[in-house]
Amino acid sequence: MTAPLALDGAGEDWRLHLSGDWSLAGMPQIDVRLKALPAALHGTLVCDWSGAKTPGIGPAWALLLRLAAMGARSTGGPAPGAQTTASALTVRHTGNPPHFLGLLTKLSASHHEFHVASAPAPSFEGSLGKLGRWSVLQGSYARGVLDFFGRIVAVLGAVFTRPRALRVSSLARHVYETGVTAIPIVSLIAFLISVIVAYLGAQQLSRFGADIFVVDLVTISVLREMGVLLTAIIVAGRSGSAFAAEIGVMQLNEETDALRAMGMNPIELLVVPRVLALIIALPCLTVIADAMGLAGGGLLSLLKLHIPLPQFTSRLRESLAPTTFWAGLIKAPVFALLIAMVGTYRGMQVRDSARELGRLTTVAVVQSIFLVIFADALFAVLFVQLDF
């Protein structure tokens, strides 16, 4: 393989021979050889293009930039002859130079160094400064969330004076999408989890001959915790992400701006129906999950522990306090509010790019699951304190 360029000559008289592949594909070799050229030259340089095969625009540009750095103030056009003498290095192109050389020469004349990936300025911020910046940022986030919540409440308040503000058809669609279509997966998971709990519980309890307490284990764990928590987590993954993505794409397409420009409130049209729909759907799903969980526990008790169904139900009645069922269900609307608000809020935050959409959808799911579990912990403490 021949070197793409070779410099010969001395003193004031230089010749640059170009040869080999001068297309974009040859760029890496060309770049290496260009860097090996002397930093500055004086006199005249004749650039001979006769050996260069398929000269490309990019390599020619790199050559011109390098020549300019070497001291050529004007590198002349493709026509041999026309030159300026005011520069330290006068360059002449011969041997059928490419037709675009004139254009590139013009562009390189107005060219100045600019690095695309410029490094950020070094910061001398101490850890205290970072903490302060972080606190201010968190404060503004909190204010944003509060503002968002306030807008939702304002719309809900407006419903009393203007019933049309409640978008019934939209509400029905979201109840269907977040609730009805989630029934199979919620049922299946509640059933399986309670089978697992009962199975593992039975193994431990049968050692003490306390098989019958499997019923207590299943009913209390499913009704108080498992039913509502698992349903909320499934719904956060299914619907929280869907809310964020739907509203996020509408943000990217300027659909929300269009709504605002038409005098409509995106909170009223997009956010409130989703929040209300989930507040309706999640308790219903929780009831279904509770029922499926009890069914799973009952089935396992029958098959594995040979507890007949009438005995299971009578034990169930004994083990249940009147509040057990409600202690689970009362959490559902709160979880629903958290999931729906996080999903729609993150969706409304999407700006500018597809990557933001993906990032905020992920954030929506992660945060809503975290908030659900956190709220559940608070409820647990509260119920113990209240002896509920």
């Binding site: 890496p28 625009i57 540009w61 930039l65 254009l103 990936a117 410029s118 790019s353």
Partner: protein, 270 residues
């Protein structure tokens, strides 16, 4: 790329479409469409809404498989290429899409570097130089390279998309509605940019446009899709065509104004 090659290739068409049939269910969009584009032309495609201009472009690019007919680019049948041949062919043309289709999570310079990185891996320095070259070619400042697509105006998006299309040094350029949505000054500036690049870089340009000013200012030949077929002619020929739709298109009130403007332009320029 040099003069001798360009004249030798001038006899062979750069695009040849024969007997193209495109159907969507029962709806027939193209019914035996033929099209030939010669090197160094600026070829404009016009037609009413729904006559399949974008479908034609997508078919030529190989993004859509037609129900019948062949598409040849540089003498190669687009429908019968191996993956390697396809990848080589794709590098010979550049495309801009209607809304720019810049990757929203990358800066303008990174958008330009995207195809370069894919096909010609090189050092960051070279890639930066090439990004600056393409920005300069389309008349964007080097500083614009650091901006993200969402920070650009409509005209700048079109220019940035053109810069990305030029990155692989294509000989053939496809433009889908390059001046749609631009103000008249930006659109006129884009026309001039296109003519400038066309003459300096010896490009062949195929564009879909509804902008009559662009059509009159830049195109050397025009193809009109009527009833699923293409009628091609020079602009002067089109103006004399008796087909009712073509008459309506080129003799409507907006066309007359655009024609007058173009005549005045040519008068002052030459």
């Amino acid at each position: 790329m040099n003069v001798a090659n360009a004249t030798a290739a001038a006899s062979a068409p750069i695009i040849r479409v024969q007997g193209l049939v495109s159907r969507f269910g029962a709806q027939v969009v193209h019914d035996g469409l033929d099209l030939t584009v010669m090197p160094h032309e600026i070829f404009g495609i016009v037609g009413g809404s729904g006559t399949g201009k974008t479908v034609l472009l997508r078919t030529i690019l190989g993004l859509r498989v037609p129900q019948a007919g062949t598409v040849e680019l540089n003498g190669k049948n687009v429908g019968a290429l191996t993956a390697a041949e396809r990848s080589a062919l794709v590098r010979t043309y550049g495309v801009t899409f209607q809304n720019g289709a810049l990757i929203s999570s990358l800066s303008v310079a990174q958008n330009i570097q995207l195809p370069l990185r894919e096909y010609y891996p090189a050092s960051e320095e070279i890639l930066d130089e090439l990004a600056q070259l393409n920005l300069a070619l389309v008349g964007l400042a080097a500083e614009d390279g650091a901006k993200f697509p969402s920070q650009l105006s409509g005209g700048m998006v079109k220019r940035a998309a053109l810069a990305r299309a030029l990155a692989l040094e294509p000989t053939l350029l496809f433009l889908d509605e390059p001046t749609a949505g631009l103000d008249p000054i930006s659109a006129a500036a884009f026309d001039e940019l296109l003519l400038y690049l066309h003459s300096e870089l010896r490009l062949t340009v195929v564009m879909i446009t509804h902008d009559l000013d662009t059509l009159f200012r830049t195109c050397s030949r025009v193809g009109v899709i009527v009833d699923g077929r293409m009628i091609t002619d020079s602009l002067d020929g089109m103006l004399k065509n008796q087909n009712p739709w073509i008459r309506e298109y080129f003799h409507g009130p907006r066309a007359r104004a655009a024609d007058k403007g173009a005549q005045a332009d040519k008068g002052t320029n030459g």
